[in-house]
């Protein structure tokens, strides 16, 4: 059975191909179009998935869309009319978008793929998240928590999943309906803090570490916890349905102070002592800290409620809020659940994987273990033809395109292909030890927002000055955002203050874990000011090439750990192809680019 999962329409469009119950390919559209969070129909991602499976769209048995457009339209229409005529602009905009395009998603998919509409089905948005969380977990039975901004009507949902006679059974237990949304609250406050909503929530989370939760009680009144673990959002503080008026209301401003303009400087820095922190900047950090704390409390409340309804050792968690790694660690360490599974791409982009797997297993049968998948499902490449381009690259031609401040102009590019992985890793480890910035591109790209050793930029983890250079001259990254590190499994417990039973849960950079005091000097550039990091514990079976590099570096450094950040510049998605990687290498201060077994550098002859 060949099933294509499709997700698009709001943000992070993606496609996934499942053949006979196994995921053969999955990718986000942004990786092909270079538009971050691209929401358009995933034309290129679908093309890639079909190519990877060796079929055409006419060979598909089924296409599965990740949300019910009719149910979602009912919510959009009702919320746009809820405060009419105040919401007349929102109403007109929503109706243009929905009546003109989004309501006809099945027709669009049918026309784009040239398949009969009878071969297209859809699942509810939160049900898609629930199966996304459950299908790859490998659990026979699990409680399932979904928390995101808003889907059809639900904003948070509790499910219970089991396997019965080789088929998954996912039952809805409870839904918290719009406008009671933790995701919308967090996004609205992200916008209030001057960051981009639906993109820079991680910056809000990073800012929280610089503040104190002195507004927590006020925030608890905004997002009130109920006795049974559920919560209620006071809509008077937010413009969820009047989105043209800004993210928060005057009442929120009166309670928490004025919003920050996106162009205002914030004096916080992960690597240096903050100087001249104004009262206003401290207030904004305190608002972020209070928001983060209350989010964690409400998510833990939902876990408690879920455990009371579905007593299980296992929790599967998905939805946009499951990208909040600080909250995730509290679930891992404080919730009643023993085992926690968060899929590698737990946001909307990953729903294409879950829906396709669920449909395939529901109609073709299967078993929990069979449907597990790795994050390395994106496009592969052959670098050999692109490497030949280097002979034609004249350094002086690149100069006009250099990022401002970059001083590496005029150097000749050189390439060297290594005969085997051991030699490659030894050479790259030597360069890392010398304090060079290495772009590391190997095999298939990762799904989801985390670089897990196939599209990564790497540096030694103890050098703060190098990390600052990486932020300024390569990544163009806000100084308050911390870096994280990858560590080989063998050294995980030498670096992380974590229950040994939880080490394996940290394979995909999903938890903010405390770093051991004894390891902090060696990891100084990859630890946030609160002493935590978002580690990737790398197992040899997950990513053999990257694991070998970590070990080779560990032989020289004394610890198998590297600072690992995604291979992209601010505002862009991660690179996919060698040419995209070379373009970023060309215009930034990256010292070395590794494309599979070939090392590209611009050393002085």
């Amino acid at each position: 059975m060949r099933v294509l999962g499709i997700s698009y329409g709001y943000h992070d469009a993606s496609a996934c191909m499942v053949v006979d119950g196994k995921v053969v390919a999955a990718a986000a559209e942004e990786r092909f179009t270079r538009q971050k969070h691209d929401a358009n129909f995933p034309t290129y991602a679908v093309e890639y998935c079909l190519k990877e499976a060796g079929i055409t769209s006419s060979d598909l048995d089924q296409a599965v869309f990740h949300e019910d457009p009719h149910a979602k339209f009912s919510r959009v229409l009702c919320s746009a009319m809820a405060a009419y005529p105040d919401t007349r602009r929102e109403f007109v905009q929503s109706m243009k978008s929905w009546l003109g395009r989004k309501l006809w998603a099945v027709n669009s998919i049918s026309a784009r793929l040239d398949i009969s509409p009878d071969r297209i089905t859809y699942l509810g948005h939160h049900f898609s998240h629930a199966v996304q969380a459950f299908m790859g977990s490998g659990f026979e039975s699990a409680a399932i928590l979904v928390v995101d901004a808003v889907g059809d009507w639900a904003c948070s949902a509790l499910y219970h999943g089991t396997w019965q006679e080789g088929r998954p059974q996912v039952e809805r237990l409870l839904e918290v309906a719009f406008p009671n949304s933790l995701g919308l609250v967090y996004s609205a406050i992200t916008a209030y803090l001057g960051f981009s909503p639906n993109d820079s929530e991680a910056t809000t989370m990073a800012l929280a570490a610089f503040g104190k939760p002195r507004f927590a009680d006020r925030m608890r009144a905004v997002v009130a916890g109920l006795d049974d673990g559920l919560y209620q959002v006071d809509e008077d503080y937010f413009n969820f349905t009047r989105f043209f008026r800004g993210p928060v209301t005057d009442k929120f401003i009166e309670t928490f102070g004025p919003a920050r303009k996106p162009t205002d400087d914030l004096p916080f820095n992960c690597f240096e002592e903050a100087t001249a922190v104004t009262a206003d900047a401290a207030r904004l950090a305190d608002v972020a800290a209070s928001t983060q704390l209350v989010l964690e409390e409400r998510v833990l409340g939902l876990c408690k409620k879920l455990h009371s309804m579905a007593p299980s050792e296992n929790l599967c968690f998905a939805g946009g809020v499951s990208l909040n790694c600080v909250s995730n660690y509290r679930i891992l360490s404080e919730s009643p659940f023993k085992n926690v599974y968060i899929p590698p791409d737990p946001g909307d982009g990953g729903t294409s994987v879950g829906t396709a797997l669920y449909y395939a297993a529901s109609h073709g049968g299967g078993a929990p273990e069979r449907h597990r998948y790795s994050p390395y499902l994106g496009a592969d490449f052959d670098e050999s033809a692109d490497i030949e381009l280097i002979d034609f690259i004249k350094p002086e031609r690149i100069t006009p395109y250099l990022k401002p401040g970059v001083t590496l102009s005029g150097l000749k590019w050189r390439s060297r292909t290594y005969p085997n992985r051991a030699a490659l890793c030894a050479a790259v480890a030597d360069r890392l030890m010398q304090g060079q910035i290495v772009g590391w591109v190997q095999g298939r790209s990762e799904i989801g927002p985390r670089a897990l050793g196939n599209r990564s930029i790497l540096i030694r983890p103890d050098d703060k000055a190098l990390a600052i250079r990486l932020s300024k001259q390569v990544k163009e990254r806000a100084a308050l955002r911390p870096y994280a590190f990858s560590v080989a499994e063998r050294d995980a417990l030498a670096t992380l203050a974590i229950d040994p039973a939880h080490v394996r849960a940290n394979r995909w950079m999903q938890y903010a874990v405390p770093v051991l005091e004894s390891a902090r000097d060696k990891l100084a550039a990859a630890v946030h000011i609160d002493g935590t990091t978002r580690p990737q514990v790398c197992y040899p079976e997950d990513n053999p090439a990257y694991h070998d590099l970590l070990v080779a570096f560990g032989e020289r450094f004394g610890l198998c750990a590297l600072l690992n950040t995604s291979f992209n510049a601010s505002g862009y998605p991660m690179v996919t192809t060698p040419v995209e990687a070379m373009a970023m290498f060309a215009r930034t201060e990256m010292d070395v680019l590794v494309l599979n077994n070939t090392v590209v550098s611009r050393d002085v002859e």
């Binding site: 006419s58 229409l77 009546l99 049918s110 793929l113």
Partner: protein, 64 residues
């Protein structure tokens, strides 16, 4: 049976979408919105037709 899209598929989808939308409203206890939804859908259909035949306008004007 071929699973390719037929020329009439779009025509089949329109009433199917209208019915499913009405059912979605009813399932949420919002049945009273259904007539309004149909007015919106009718308006959308009229606008779609106008938009579709708009490129013919120069030709029609040229007849007079």
């Amino acid at each position: 049976m071929s699973n390719r899209r037929r020329w009439y598929s779009g025509i089949v989808i329109v009433p199917r979408t209208a019915v499913r939308t009405a059912m979605a409203f009813r399932n949420q206890g919002l049945g009273r919105f259904v007539p309004f939804v149909f007015v919106l859908l009718f308006g959308a259909a009229v606008l779609w037709i106008i938009n579709t035949i708009a490129p013919l306008a120069p030709f029609i004007y040229s007849l007079f």
